[in-house]
Amino acid sequence: MPADRQLPGADRRVQLMATCLCDAFFADAARATVEVLEHLGCVVEFPEGQTCCGQPAFNGGDWTASRRVVRHAVRTFAGELPVIVPSASCAAMLFHGALLEFEKEPDLPAVRQLGRRTWELADFIVNALGIKAWAGRLDARLAFHRSCHARGTDTGAAAVALLSSIAGATVVPVGEAEQCCGFGGIFSVAFPHLSTSMGALKLEHVRAARPDLLVGVDMSCLMHLGGLAEKAGQPIPARHIAQVLRDALKNGGLL
């Protein structure tokens, strides 16, 4: 994570990178992200030309393809505003991954400039906007899944701080929490046995905690775990943290 990240200006204008997964599947997580940011006084711009952060090709090893997509993102999100992403992995792609694949490229400075402005949502709420506790109410046992790309960032701590502070909510510990859920992008389809074995193990630990909701900062992990659970006939309600924060506000009559 860059040491010198850009904070929002007094007008709290930000750009939203919705992520390709929310664009395609999880519209409500993107909606909730906007509602939460606006509730906090942000003015949210949505550059329509956005597509994807370039991570799938990056992880797959096709850096030529990935760089093409990252360049498109650099153009789409041109400017100086903070870019908020409801995904720890997409955020990490922009402030860490992209720097690797652009190491020898002439436009590395532009890529770095975008990375410096990129914030995962929970991290932004707690560490850029200074929110210590979340208003509203949600009576539920929450199992928090800290996705692997949040390692080495402040996202996990920020998410747990927000969730724990919600009136009525209990964040329940999940066994072997440091173990990956098995998604890993292309890994999920290139190594399907490993991916689903890891996912099944994670679900065992989640179920043992008897949560009402599985909450994450990445829809990719939740899509994988939720998909596994549903196909096995034992669906588990999964929500993005933005949805939980929004629902808490709604329950409290604040939205």
Binding site: F46, T64, L100, L194, M223
Partner: protein
């Protein structure tokens, strides 16, 4: 599309092997985590410092290697250099032949596995006996170690008991204590009959020329107490700058490897025995081995050479836990091996190019690495190389991304697909002949396609 070999292997391993590997790795990992937190206020800072010390050594190896050679020679050791595995084996053979020696006892050194030393010597009429209990069992089974610290993590006591019976060490008995006592009795006479004791080195201090060898069993110590000649095989990257730096590494190594503060034996060797000492080697040889390391040093993954072979990354890796070490088809398995094995393969990189793909890039390995190697970044670099060199092993199972990249750099095309994707909500997904989709759908449901919905909502919201 071809299937990834490591995935196929993982699907086939027997349930009790997987259970043994899972239990062994998880237990050590959890103990390690507790121990470090109990003993130190900030263990992460120690890991970062240790990583910086190792990076400094690697980037100044041109100074440190000649320095350590001079110190070793001043201490009375003979220094040899081997560019290749073949040269390293030949160096050991040469030393033995010069002494008319035919029996060698060896303690655990992964470098000896790497160069294929034991079979090389056996083929030339030399008995090269593994003395570490786990490695001895691997040797009599004609097997390969599956973990760099716990070589038989994949075996159970019954298999070991049968092997001992077959070797003539006694009637079948699978009690671990009995097995260990039999090995003790058998091995001590072998040490005494051996001409040469061969060890590796966990560290070599460039300042004093001391080799540091750590074990729990006492086998390396016995190899240095009974035989009259010592040969140490050492990768050129095993240096530390000063004796003082050993404080950091000794504090991190055993805790990371076996969740102990220190291993039972920590031996500092700087030359042949003192004249007045009745036991030990009168002659000491150090063979510095390259075998591809200089090529790694020249590349963009040189951080992997910091590795101190603790195995902590293997223990925490969810892929290693599911697949076990043999899935990697290499001397070095797990996250370490996924980086090092393709690199050391040199011209045969393509054969091992699937190893860096067998990872979800979770980063748990870097989190436990005592020298803070950025393993996920190195795996990514190797994936890039695998793609650029068109390695088929790397490509297996991976959908081509060129068309996707064109789609994702054209807003019009992207929005059109968001709309078009709605067809997925009505088609039988399992029948669509897209391999990636079929691999997903076999065990996971696909969420409802909602392409365009958020954008429509957002447009309405921002319209004045």
């Amino acid at each position: 599309m071809a299937r990834q070999r490591i995935d196929a292997y993982a699907a086939r391993i027997p349930a009790d092997t997987r259970a043994a590997v899972y239990l062994g790795t998880k237990t050590t990992h959890e103990k390690r985590t507790l121990l470090l937190a109990d003993h130190f206020a900030d263990a992460d800072r120690l890991r970062r410092w240790a990583g910086e010390v190792k990076q400094h050594v690697l980037e100044n190896l041109d100074t440190y290697l000649p320095q350590v050679e001079a110190r070793l020679q001043a201490n009375g050791a003979q220094v040899h250099w081997a560019s290749t595995a073949e040269e390293a084996c030949a160096a050991v053979l040469g030393i033995m032949q010069a002494r008319g020696a035919t029996k060698l006892v060896k303690s655990k050194t992964m470098v000896s596995e790497e160069i294929g030393l034991a079979p090389y010597l056996e083929q030339r009429g030399i008995e090269a006996l593994e003395t570490d209990l786990g490695e001895y069992i691997v040797q009599i089974d004609k097997d390969h170690p599956s973990h760099i610290v716990r070589p038989i993590i994949h075996k159970n006591r019954r298999e070991i008991a049968r092997s001992f019976e077959r070797e003539g060490l006694g009637a079948y008995n699978d009690d671990p204590e009995t097995i260990t006592r039999r090995a003790r009795q058998f091995m001590r006479h072998k040490y005494l009959a051996a001409d040469v004791g061969l060890t590796g080195a966990n560290f070599v201090s460039a300042e004093s020329g001391r080799l540091v060898v750590v074990t729990n069993e006492g086998n390396s110590r016995f190899s240095l107490a009974a035989p009259r000649c010592h040969i140490a095989l050492v990768g050129i990257e095993k240096l530390v700058p000063r004796d003082r730096d050993l404080v950091l590494f000794l504090n991190l190594l055993a805790r990371s490897a076996t969740a102990q503060q220190l291993t039972v034996y920590t031996e500092f060797i700087s030359g042949p025995k003192l004249a007045a000492q009745p036991d030990g080697p009168e002659e000491m040889h150090v063979v510095f081995v390259d075998n591809g390391r200089t090529e790694v040093l020249a590349g963009d993954c040189r951080e992997i050479l910091r590795c101190i072979r603790c195995g902590a990354c293997l223990n925490v890796c969810p892929v290693y836990r599911q697949a076990s070490g043999h899935a990697y088809r290499s001397v070095y398995p797990g996250p370490l091996g996924a980086v090092l094995s393709p690199l050391l393969a040199g011209g045969n990189f393509a054969e091992k190019a699937d190893l860096p793909k067998a990872s979800s890039l979770c980063g748990a390995c870097n989190e436990v690495c005592p020298v803070n190697i950025p393993i996920p970044d190195l795996l990514l670099r190797l994936r890039d190389r695998g793609k650029r060199e068109h390695a088929a092993a790397a490509a297996a199972g991976t959908p081509p991304m060129g068309a996707w990249a064109r789609l994702a750099s054209s807003p019009a095309a992207w929005k059109a697909s968001l709309a078009a994707g709605r067809v997925l909500n009505i088609l039988p997904l399992g029948l669509i002949p897209v391999p990636a989709l079929r691999a997903w759908v076999a065990k996971r449901s696909v969420p409802a396609w909602r392409g365009g919905e958020f954008r429509k909502w957002m447009r309405r919201r921002t319209r004045p």
